[in-house]
Assembly symmetry: C2
């Protein structure tokens, strides 16, 4: 049985989507047990409408919530009765609790992971690794790091590559993930000192299927499984891609609603539009993880629906089932002994 | 009379679009004269079909072309008979030649500007500054630097801000441009050492209307006129935005062409789609410039049509008409004397 702690609060539609996501997970994954952390009265009321295996669900009462407006580190330290703080406390003290899933404040979740969970032995810096859909159906792309480390050295990026590559294999079954270095051109000699040195390191890391530099315009092309970068560039990459898609969709919608004729047209292509929306919808793929932490932590979008919460739980389950953390620890130990022998 | 050198070669549809763009410019701007550099026989043949004021057009023969596959610096140094090299040579030696417009290789144009044109006195690093449309009609946003300088210090970014701000005023008539610093969050304390120090510098530069940090997801929102960043982040920002828009449009097109019903729908919304395409089309806005160079150099997209070439020429004309280079030199001298007095 794999025990997963689920923060029931903090999302745009919490705790409803959290409760429904948990019920779905209990139904579809038989060797999972869940601790739902949040306002007990609210959770019990919502659960009354649901059918689930009660023997695999516990509730841990937490009357308070950390919001996106709270200062992350401060909130984790002072809001002891918040659902996220209580969830971290359980993860830290209960050896059976193996993973935490939350759709609450990203900053607080990162701070909590660093302060309460700690790193795998040998990890220089934990890295934030979200996934995005690509234009190739059922194919995702991961970005590592997307914002946890704004100042990086080449050795950090090498570890991001190794951890991200293992993650894609263990959590998503991606075979021999194609790892690319984010750069301003595809040629080997491109970029700043960080990129040039990282390029050489990645090329000489046997555990990786390193395919060279990539440009940000090809992020969604489906040609790469993992994009390696410092947290500043990764954050720019992730948010500009999301922003551009959002603004363009908004323009399209506005355009289609602006005349009678175009409204009829919109009706006729509605199904196709939904298919595209579906393809590009992160709710269907899973959450972001903090790779390098000594326990599994999965962060879903704040606007997650119940499917998205379910996918985050499923993802945490797979990471644990396939022993990702052990695999990372083993690989880093091997890399370390290789480089000390070299 | 403002004399502008136009590289006739190097674009996807050169020299046809270059010739047509030049003819348009001669027709609509009366105090402009143009030197068209490229294969003379080809250019004369194309010009035969056009009506224009021949007294304001010269042709400079150049039998060779620099392509995007050539190594930029090497090409500028060795391909002496290429249209771009000859254009730079003219810009360097003819005191009346005030600006160069090209839709050829970006790398070669940057290399040529650095090697043959040089910088304005006081400029630490020239910066590449492209413009993008926003979701607000007729409103653009400029990114400075978008790739010329991958390693930057805060003083470079401060100059990018000053030069970009003057550029928007002089070339596009933007009043009191809103200048933002690209960062991973909007709060003042966000980002790495470069961002934190630059934030303070920008806040204390009287010539600027500095509005604080911005996140990449808001690039197209129309809330900012100028985004200041190092060339690495700027390149990631620019290309991921372009890439995401392109991939999404491709998905939409594919979706709409996939069934009879959706094809009818597509017909009905065609006009609206073209309006959006038009809004987001760089051809309607102008080219990228290398700010800080001692002569005006404007780079259009390789896939420019004749309208885009015309807009690039018009932009170069406005920059010269409004004495942008002089304005930059004056401002930098003032900043320098301010900081030495401080």
């Amino acid at each position: 049985m794999i025990k997963i702690v689920v923060d029931a609060m903090g999302g745009d539609n919490s705790p409803l989507v959290n409760v429904k996501g948990v019920v779905k997970a209990l139904g579809s994954i038989k060797d999972i047990s869940i601790v739902l952390v949040g306002d007990e009265a609210q959770l019990r009321a919502l659960l009354q409408a649901e059918k689930y295996d009660a023997s695999r669900l516990e509730i841990l009462h937490a009357p308070d919530v950390i919001s996106c407006n709270d200062k992350p580190t401060e909130a984790i330290k002072t809001k002891k009765d918040s659902s996220m703080s209580k969830a971290f406390e359980l993860l830290r003290t209960d050896p059976e609790a193996r993973a935490l899933v939350s759709i609450g404040s990203t900053g607080a979740l990162l701070a909590g992971t660093v302060l309460r969970v700690g790193r795998i032995r040998g990890v220089k810096r934990p890295a934030f690794c979200p996934i995005l859909p690509t234009v190739v159906p059922n194919q995702i792309v991961a970005i590592c790091d997307s914002g946890a480390n704004v100042d990086c050295d080449p050795q950090y990026l090498q570890q991001f590559a190794v951890m991200g590559s293992l993650y894609l294999q263990k959590a998503f079954g991606v075979h021999n993930p194609r790892v690319a270095l984010l750069n301003i051109g595809v040629e080997e000699e491109k970029g700043d000192a960080l990129r040039k040195e990282t390029y050489q390191l990645l090329q000489n890391t046997p555990a990786l299927n390193f395919v060279g530099n990539m440009e940000s315009r090809d992020l969604l092309s489906g040609e790469f499984d993992l994009v390696v970068c410092d947290g500043f560039a990764g954050n720019v990459l992730l948010k500009s891609t999301e922003g551009a898609c959002m603004e363009l969709m908004r323009l399209l919608k506005r355009g289609m609603m602006s005349s009678f004729k175009s409204k009829i047209g919109a009706l006729l292509i509605k199904k196709k539009m939904y298919e595209i929306k579906d393809l590009m919808d992160y709710n269907n793929y899973g959450g972001a993880v903090l790779l390098g932490a000594s326990k599994t932590v999965v962060k879903g979008h704040g606007s997650s629906n119940d499917d998205a919460v379910f996918h985050c739980i499923e993802q945490a389950y797979k990471m644990e089932k396939n022993n990702l953390i052990e695999a990372i620890a083993t690989h880093l130990a091997v890399e370390a002994s290789n480089s000390s022998n070299a």
